[in-house]
């Protein structure tokens, strides 16, 4: 049973953690694609930017969280979401909108977004420095140890405070997004524009408004994902390096342009990564007596070493592009 708890801690919890972050990230990528038809490479840096805004605000008002009984970073999150949304709209106005107005091919926008990536990374680095910083400036990171009420289980299930908030906020974000897309007038108009932009315009939908709304949502979601990740580990100006590939893999696995697919894809990639680096030798211990010697002698039975975790989404990406380029939910092909 202790092995099962080990599995829960190392696969279920950590897979859900990365899955949630990839899911929220991939939703942003997929929304931009469905409205503007280009792969937005600067998305991961918008996530970093959101986290950086939280870091800045938390450093300025370190005690604000105590009044609400939550980490200060969470109190600052709504403000950081607004700032990131503003940045996203601003970047669109300054860089992508003029390109769209010229009627360029999508690849030009993709390259433009690479430029934005470099610019954002440089800017963040300029103000944050190059090292990692904790978002827990003045708070203490709580760790919850949940002992399972089963006899013989000595190891508790461990969830940290940021992981708990991560799960809660992911659920809130997904439900809110679902309600917005399926119930609200603007959300339906977004789906309409994703389906058929010409007809959306012929119906009187102002496509510029929809584009701006999309960036506000994308910026807000990016700030949530970046902040939750930085809370769980630490803030680093180059977070996006480790995010870009998994979130694009997740968006493509789910079917590009399909928000629900992106959420599913995020968890597929998150769990695939976690399972690939999981050390299976621990799980074999209960069956020690009936297994061959050579299998037990190896101390590490992971598919890939932790340092090569990033190859997992890469492999998934290649596999899905070869065998099912439209993804699980029949999206568009980039």
């Amino acid at each position: 049973m202790n092995e099962l708890v080990f599995f829960i801690n190392n696969v279920l919890v950590s897979g859900s953690v990365s899955g949630s972050i990839y899911a929220i990230g991939a939703v942003g990528v997929t929304l931009v694609f469905s409205i503007m038809r280009f792969a937005h490479f600067a998305h991961a840096d918008m996530m970093t930017f959101g986290a950086f805004m939280v870091l800045l605000l938390t450093s300025v008002f370190p005690g604000a969280g105590a009044a609400f009984g939550v980490p200060t970073a969470l109190v600052m999150l709504p403000l950081a979401m607004a700032l990131t949304a503003l940045l996203a709209v601003g970047i669109d106005r300054a860089f992508y909108k003029p390109l769209r107005a010229h009627g360029v091919k999508p690849i030009v926008l993709v390259i433009g977004s690479l430029g934005v990536t470099l610019m954002l990374q440089g800017l963040i680095r300029l103000f944050s420095g190059t090292g990692g910083q904790s978002l827990y400036v003045d708070d203490r990171k709580e760790i919850f140890r949940l002992a399972l009420p089963i006899e013989g289980v000595r190891v508790p299930v461990v969830i940290t405070e940021p992981q708990f908030y991560l799960f809660v906020l992911t659920i809130v974000a997904v439900v809110a997004l679902h309600l917005f897309l399926s119930r609200s007038r603007l959300g339906k108009a977004m789906r309409a524009m994703s389906d058929n932009p010409d007809l959306a315009q012929a119906s009187g939908i102002n496509t510029n408004t929809i584009v701006a709304v999309t960036w506000v949502i994308v910026g807000g979601l990016a700030a949530i994902a970046g902040t939750l990740l930085s809370l769980d580990v630490t803030f680093k100006p180059d977070l996006s390096f480790f995010l870009l590939l998994p979130i694009f893999a997740a968006a493509i696995v789910g079917g590009v342009g399909r928000p629900y697919g992106a959420i599913a894809g995020g968890f597929v990639v998150g769990f695939a990564e976690t399972l690939a680096v999981f050390n299976w030798s621990v799980m074999l211990r209960p069956f020690r007596d009936s297994l061959p010697e050579w299998l037990l002698q190896s101390g590490n039975l992971a598919f890939v070493g932790t340092e090569y975790k990033i190859v997992v989404p890469f492999f998934i990406l290649v596999a899905i592009l070869i065998w099912r380029p439209t993804g699980i939910f029949k999206g568009k092909v980039i």
Partner: protein, 234 residues
Amino acid sequence: MPLLDARDVHGGYGGMNILNGVNMTIEADDIGVIVGPNGAGKSTMLKAVFGLLFVNQGQILLRGEPIHNLPPNQLVERGMGFVPQENNVFPSLTVKENLEMGAYLKPGNVKRMLDKVYGFFPPLFEKRHQPAGELSGGQRQMVAMGRALMAEPDVLLLDEPTAGLSPLYMNEILERVKEINAAGVGILMVEQNAKQALAIADKGFVLAAGQNRFTDTGAALLADPEVAKSFLGG
């Protein structure tokens, strides 16, 4: 004052003119039908009226006000509805959501207009929760027309509404066009099935090479042996 008045319209794509002086007048209770051979500029004329094509000479007036080269969303606000020939529904949205998008600029009207549109097209009520992409061609055409009606237009532009439909559905759609017109909506439509369309037309416009060849009532055009010989297949 006519509802829609196009005077000597010239226009085209990228410097090449397709329309070389088209004239059309539609009264508020008219069904106007544009017919003519392939490449005559029929659909192009409809697009010019809906602001999808640059008009570089001439005028298009809606109730006396010039509207040429206004963006489509402003034309919707001024009471014009447009149903394109292809890609005229939102395939992943349900039938009801498709219709709601038609009333995007008048959200207060949704409930009343939904009832009205379901009245014109009863099959849509049964299928209201189904994605429009799963419907048959004829039902999709109903969704497309219903969507345009949701904005309560004064004039509805239809681009080949019966293209690709079985004769049964073709008659059904033309019947609905008559009903919609009887409910007070002016119609301007392009049709390949010229005989059937002219039969319900108050005004008929036979275009050739981007110009009016014949302009008369639908009945008169049907009776004209010259029109019949050259444009209606004898």
